[in-house]
Symmetry: C2
Subunit: 384 residues, 2 copies
Amino acid sequence: MREVAIIGIGQTVVDEHWDKSLRELGGEAVLAALKDANREIVDGIFVGNMMSGILSHQESLGALIADWVGMRGVEAFKVEGACGSGAAALRLGMMAVSSGEMDSAVVLGVEKMTESLPIETTAALATAADADFESAQGLSFVAINALVMRRYLHEYGWKHTDFAPFSINAHANAVHNPFARLRETVNEKDYHNARMIADPINLLDASPTGDGAAAVVIVPAEMLRFNGGRIITIAGSGAATDSLAVHDRHDPLWLSAAELSAKKAYKQAGVGPEDIDVFELHDAFSIMSALSLEACGFAERGQGPRLGLDGDILPKGRIPICTRGGLKARGHPVGATGIYQIVEVVQQLRGEAGPTQVDGAKIGMAQNIGGSGALIVAHILKVN
Amino acid sequence: MREVAIIGIGQTVVDEHWDKSLRELGGEAVLAALKDANREIVDGIFVGNMMSGILSHQESLGALIADWVGMRGVEAFKVEGACGSGAAALRLGMMAVSSGEMDSAVVLGVEKMTESLPIETTAALATAADADFESAQGLSFVAINALVMRRYLHEYGWKHTDFAPFSINAHANAVHNPFARLRETVNEKDYHNARMIADPINLLDASPTGDGAAAVVIVPAEMLRFNGGRIITIAGSGAATDSLAVHDRHDPLWLSAAELSAKKAYKQAGVGPEDIDVFELHDAFSIMSALSLEACGFAERGQGPRLGLDGDILPKGRIPICTRGGLKARGHPVGATGIYQIVEVVQQLRGEAGPTQVDGAKIGMAQNIGGSGALIVAHILKVN
């Protein structure tokens, strides 16, 4: 098995890109990543995307993007794992390069969500949940997360405002990220006064949707060794599933697929939670930040909010999260999010994260969640 | 790179399965394949599917299937490449096992198309084409193929009835396949009198949709060697793309992605067209049979129909195609089709194809087409 390195990154700002079609948006990120990698062509293209068929009436995304970026002929596939589609595409791309079938690949995450009516987007997002046992009952995706958060508050005795630091940190960091959707700070008062969406989830607990695309170029690490210099490798990679419907879980307050995927990635990378310098987690809702920190070994069960209250999650804290704004403030174009996270970890490991740079970051983790924890993919990147 | 073997196959009959949900249908094929392989669990699940999000309001298919078949926790992904989704999933699954990241995997193709209104299914199928430049102009998928067939008749001087043998052969073979949707013979008169769909494509030029699922279990071949006995390996695998929109092609009558993917597979397997004993091609429309035979080296350019007229495509012919009914008569549940083809080639190589068994079949090819030739994936299987 060949180790795989990331040699190029590209992204578009997360926004309402009404002037750009799906292919233009995705193409922009791919071309930026190729330019960053100083490459013109690769052997394969992997497109992480969730809802182009529903919202843009367009499938065949692999061929669409390959042709648009000038690589007609090159093999190309779409990978879907709901909001975890981006990291899922990276994992499959990584295995393709690792296997020797490809010597290079681009992994793109792209999603276009803002050209549809909000009700259409909400319905499309609900396809991430169990269509027969959740969505069919009228449960939207935010409603499912609201039930989980309500139960969490009850079970572990936290107040809603104890989750404020997650939102405040994400927004503070996004101010310095030119690709973020919400580049504005918020404070405790804003959080307290934010409009309710699905009790107890308010506007500042929830990540905004958006149109966006992010891409990385991967090659076998062995091809770079002779150059000397810094190499960023995918040192660990793991994925796991859980039941789609939250009510089917043994414990609805424990992301077992997050735990399992992180453990696989830790084992492969030969590290533990204590070695992670920066952690781009999947804060689609603030409750997911707490659950992710717990499942990945950074906090005891039920104690996730403590890391926010203690400042551990800040760029200078013990386990910095959402250093470029996270889903909450960078934005959450669902199928693209997993690759935005990878791009952001690479920025940290390159020392290119600006005012929110984590000092001396050498090992970073990204974890991307599909559905309410149904498919979770973790990657650990290392500077070698 | 580890060679990959297919050790189990499973399928459901292609039909209107109104009594089975998407997960039940997919689960049935997976469990049948696991039983055939004498396995209970694998390391990963790959689901080829095109339109579950649109027609069943269900994405997250990987996690959905993993949980349903009793493998909650195991990593699982959906792969999309329009009607080529099945073979695309196999190619990615093969690379995952080949890389060493997984020691076993199930690759499932599943599609549920008959619970929706026909207009909804037609619209969903159109997402395989270029949404901006084809579908938005009102071109349905069959209309695009009709334009190609009309041009082909004009360019090479064939009569419409010269395509009858493709349909007649497929139907004759399906009679002996218990999993086929249309188990009835047709003759030249039927073909001549068939109802027109999109001139010149009539009902007997076109494959029927349907609900269906097919699955295979794959492992590294090295794990089987010590057992002795017959092993069926994926000796060659290749994929390639072309422009999504047919009008963008250099030659709309040449499937360059079919040529490219077949050449890659031939090269990897160390064989040529003359070595292929059976070829399960993608006869979504009879014109595609002709184009596939030409692009893969079995006929000269513009001479595909000759192989039908000369009887070369029959089970006892020079290059038997659609030996279990093909898309035309087995049925075409789009995302599942690529795996049905693989299952059928395995049946031939095992000598389990009944009255349509190809004598002494040792090397078989399957080629699955996404869109009007936009993503094409070829696999060559060998008995070792």
